[in-house]
Amino acid sequence: MLSALFAAECPISLVRELRDADPRSMPARLWKSLADAGVFGLLLPQEYGGAGGALSDLGIFCLEAGRGLCPTIVHGTVQAALAIQLLGGPDQHAAWLPSLADGKISATTCLWGPRNAAVTTPTLRVRAEAWGGWRLSGAVDFVADADLADHVVVSAAAPGERVMAFVVPLAAAGLWIDPLRLMGGHRTFRIGFDDVEVIDPAAVLDGADGAGLAEQDLRRVANAAVALLSLDLVGVGEAVLQRTVDYTMARKQFGRPIASFQAAQHLVANMHIALAAARLAAHSAVFCIGKGHTATRQTAIGRMHAATAAKLITLDAHQLHGGMGYVVETDLHLFSERARVLSTLGGGADVAATWLEDEA
């Protein structure tokens, strides 16, 4: 069902438009289809309009999203809902989850380091105002899709090593964004907060006892995002492996399909093996987090395999396509760019290995 949805509503022309247009606008039709299909509420409690599903269900969606080159504003919105669900209380849930569940609002998140998702120490600072509100200051880097999202869920350090998070409209007074344009037109931004005011208590995520967010909880949110994006990378790998097999079967040289050459078959087999490891490891991570664990070990292993596999598969796909995959009109590069970008943000295999070291 999801693959049919992406085939119909996320054509390459849409992917290219979001890649190249400046400024760009929300993919409204795709967004509505995903909302109608219940994607945004998949994981959220039924009382807030969600389906009450498991994180694994969202994992299956993310894999298809990777296959279909789904715009990452969808991932950001899902991550934001997950963060509010895991970090907020009843007031925050009631305020945000219904409109997130049915796709009325979009969001992006900034709760972990863009280079290393294990770093949950905020770069923003927050101070309490005498009148009961909060003021945010500082800047954060590499926030995805801040040009499209309605809100950002961002963490900030309050005095006394207390970490809080806030749901802030990107149109808030004192908030500015500067583009940090990545490979393949992937849009991230530096967001500056010049004493941005937060008044609504429902926009404040402050832990169960109001004494700040626990590092463990932030880490679980970060791990969930990393693990889900690892499944996106698996989807990228699956799509590219399929394209590559199809191409080598159709492309004839020396009077036979290049698929009949052992060298080509071995490259395909290597892709398959890398993908098998990545798929299992990433699904396992999402499953463990869904069971309520922080699952840093599984998250690290999933990311190490998914990042490695997605890069290997896309680069070897270029090798098997030759010039025919190198010209931009054949679209292969769209997958290669997504593989390199998503396997870097939050940390690739090098960074994820340090999470595993820290667990030992």
């Binding site: 490979m183 020396f254 090798q319 190198y326 010209v327 870097t344």
Partner: protein, 393 residues
Amino acid sequence: MVDFELDAAQDAWLAEVRAFLTENVTPALRSELAEHGQELPDREVAAFRRRIGERGWFGLNWPSEYGGLGLGAVYQHLLMREFEYWGVPGPDLTVTSVAPMIMRHGTEQNKLEFLPPIARGELICAVGYSEPEAGTDLASLRTRAVQDGDEWVITGSKIWNSVANRATHEWLCVRTDPSAARHRGISVVMVPMNLPGIEIRPLYAWSGYRTNEVFFDAVRVPVGNLIGELNRGWTYITGALDLERGALTNAGDLRRALDDLTELAGRPRRDGSVPLQIAGFRRRLAQAEADVEAAMLMGYQAASLLESGVIPTVDVSVEKVFSSELRQRIADLAIDLLGPDGLLEYRSPGAPEDGKFERLYRVSPLMRFGGGTNEVLRDVIAQRGHGMPSYGR
């Protein structure tokens, strides 16, 4: 045995090349290269090319009878490595691949007509080998030349003609005897690009570079533009491909990339962390250092062999496979090491080294399949290097 030390004359040559580059690689040239790549009719680039030609450096290893300086292949290698290191265009395939073939196999008329303008940098060839259906299997090419009086009439198309839009000529591989076995009916013809019936269509690569598809519709060329003998072209171009491989892979660009990356590794990233403080990156940089050194030695060895009159088929295959895969490893290491900073798009604000490594990642797939795929070259190494049997490609 390779002499691992340059002699005094070669040292002096290297110093001369560096002095030339210091003097002539101006900010204006740099900015034109960054702005237009190889796309537009060039000003600074053309002037730079003329200055190379004035020094005779396009013919530096040609015999003096053809307007060359008569210097050895090692001199050519050192010059090209240095140009690659500086990231500026130097002797291209016209000089390193086409001209030697003309010298070896061309008629006296071919030599007189084409070599002097190549030496001056005025004749620039697009190399017309691949066709949409004839890539790795080059011998299946279908572009035809039929003799009509004192002209060849050429019809067909070529692809991946990277410089066709600014070339003066096409070094064109054509089928001249359709009844002969695949390899035997092929000839090479020099085709001026300004003739009627030639159409050039751009193709854009992931690297951002332009390449072209070139169409020939009954293009008429004097019979004298046939290179060497009729139906002997396959022998010529396979030799040219070996030279091309040797010339394309001198590792100067890899040396530069690693120098730049090592420098960047000591600087703080946007989040304040310094890659060199992480042991894993020091280890990977050390591995890259060892690999770049090996690639440099391979290039030097190939040049030494060429200088002794051998076309080092197996050695240049080794060098090409090794350095093209190394290029991809360095590009990947660079983005790992720089983190998200390394993803910042080429020439976008705040990108380290102007996004050079983001682009290198997109450039690096090319040389794994271009100029002979690494799979075919591995066959060459096993079969020609070790006498292992062919499996009948």
